[in-house]
């Protein structure tokens, strides 16, 4: 009984001491993969919010998204997940410090978060 109590106390002290340590930030490549997976999942059921709507709501678009937004194409195209074919996504999902820098890119935001 005493031994059990002693054990309990020991493990509480060890757990408390280990718990209070600082945690490492998540790898940016993991964030990128999570974001890609979420957007893919969102796009499965119904179209994403189009770039026209995003812009109207005040969201910043990256240079490629902006190109799609001003292109003479329908809203269906503007709702596509264009990041799927973007090299920024590929780099961000595989590298910890990918060489991507342009404003409005969600992968740059995740890299800097």
């Amino acid at each position: 009984m005493t031994r059990d109590r002693s054990d309990e106390e020991f493990f509480r002290v060890v757990a408390d001491a280990s718990e209070s340590s600082e945690t490492l930030p998540a790898p940016s490549s993991l964030k990128a993969r999570i974001y890609s997976a979420l957007v893919n999942r969102q796009a499965e059921a119904a179209p994403l919010m189009s770039f026209t709507e995003l812009k109207a709501c005040g969201q910043r678009l990256c240079v490629f998204e902006e190109l799609v937004r001003i292109a003479p194409v329908g809203e269906t195209i503007k709702s596509l997940n264009v990041c799927r074919v973007c090299h920024a996504r590929v780099l961000a999902e595989r590298m910890e410090n990918p060489p991507i820098f342009w404003n409005g890119c969600p992968y740059v935001q995740l890299k800097n978060s």
Partner: protein, 256 residues
């Protein structure tokens, strides 16, 4: 409660009728507004509450008089959470990026600590947490914070992993309990906190996975043995026996 979050038209002006700036949360197209003289204070559970001695008339005056900072948007986190959730449900991909950027570090830290040293599993579990969050985001009512809600999902995912591992046959370990290892101790006198942390995880990494998981579940997550028994489909006695073996091996390696 008079804290309100409202969806505003995207082309709404940046200033209010009285000339003050309209508060906008994290660049989202939602404006948050608080009625005058109401300064809700966040509770530990992330719920909105007012001080017990609150009176509408003197709240702002006393705050200013005593040079105390006026709470910024009170429980903006809660309203901000709801705004973020609404945007994600509308499939605003920028809001989704904000969601991932804001919460991944904390979820990762929690899962990493609980699944140590199985870093090969950590990333998958963290991703599962976010995908499960997306699947169930419509059920988020904003009663608690989004952070707590996500941590709840993470905890559930970690427990699922524990259950899966603990249901597999236990490793057969030949060890004998040395009564000496249970002698009185004062580890805090002998080791500084950082040393304890390092040593704890060092010992943990050397343990068989079943022992490691059961110890983390019991002592780091503070889960009662009865709950562990229910969740793994084992008897409470079996869990206690497993814990006793795990503790003994841990202590043995700790003292060696």
């Amino acid at each position: 409660m008079r804290l309100s979050a409202s969806l505003m038209p995207c082309d709404c002006p940046d200033t209010l009728a009285d000339g003050s700036l309209r508060p906008v949360v994290s660049g989202l197209p939602f404006a948050l507004s608080i009625e005058p003289n109401v300064f809700p204070t966040p509770s530990s559970k992330g719920e909105l509450s007012l001080p017990a001695d609150y009176t509408p008339e003197d709240c702002r005056v006393s705050s200013l008089r005593e040079s105390q900072p006026v709470p910024e948007l009170g429980n903006a986190s809660s309203a901000e959470d709801r705004a973020l959730v609404t945007a994600i449900l509308q499939k605003d991909r920028k809001a989704t990026a904000e969601f991932v950027a804001r919460y991944t570090d904390e979820i990762y830290g929690y899962v990493r600590c609980r699944l140590f040293p199985r870093y090969d599993v950590v990333n998958d579990v963290v991703q599962e947490v976010f995908l499960a969050a997306w699947e169930n985001l419509g059920q988020f009512r904003g009663e608690g914070s989004l952070r707590s809600w996500l941590l709840g999902i993470a905890r559930h995912k970690v427990e699922t992993y524990y259950r899966t591992q603990l249901r597999t046959p236990e490793p057969i370990e030949n060890y004998t309990e040395d009564p000496g290892i249970h002698s009185t101790f004062s580890i805090t006198d002998r080791l500084e906190q950082e040393q304890i942390r390092k040593k704890a995880w060092q010992v943990m990494s050397s343990l068989p996975e079943t022992y490691r998981l059961v110890l983390i579940w019991r002592y780091w997550d503070r889960t009662p043995t009865r709950d562990m028994a229910v969740k793994t489909g084992k008897t409470e006695k079996a869990i206690e026996r497993l814990l006793a073996r795990a503790r003994a091996v841990f202590r043995e390696r700790w003292d060696s």
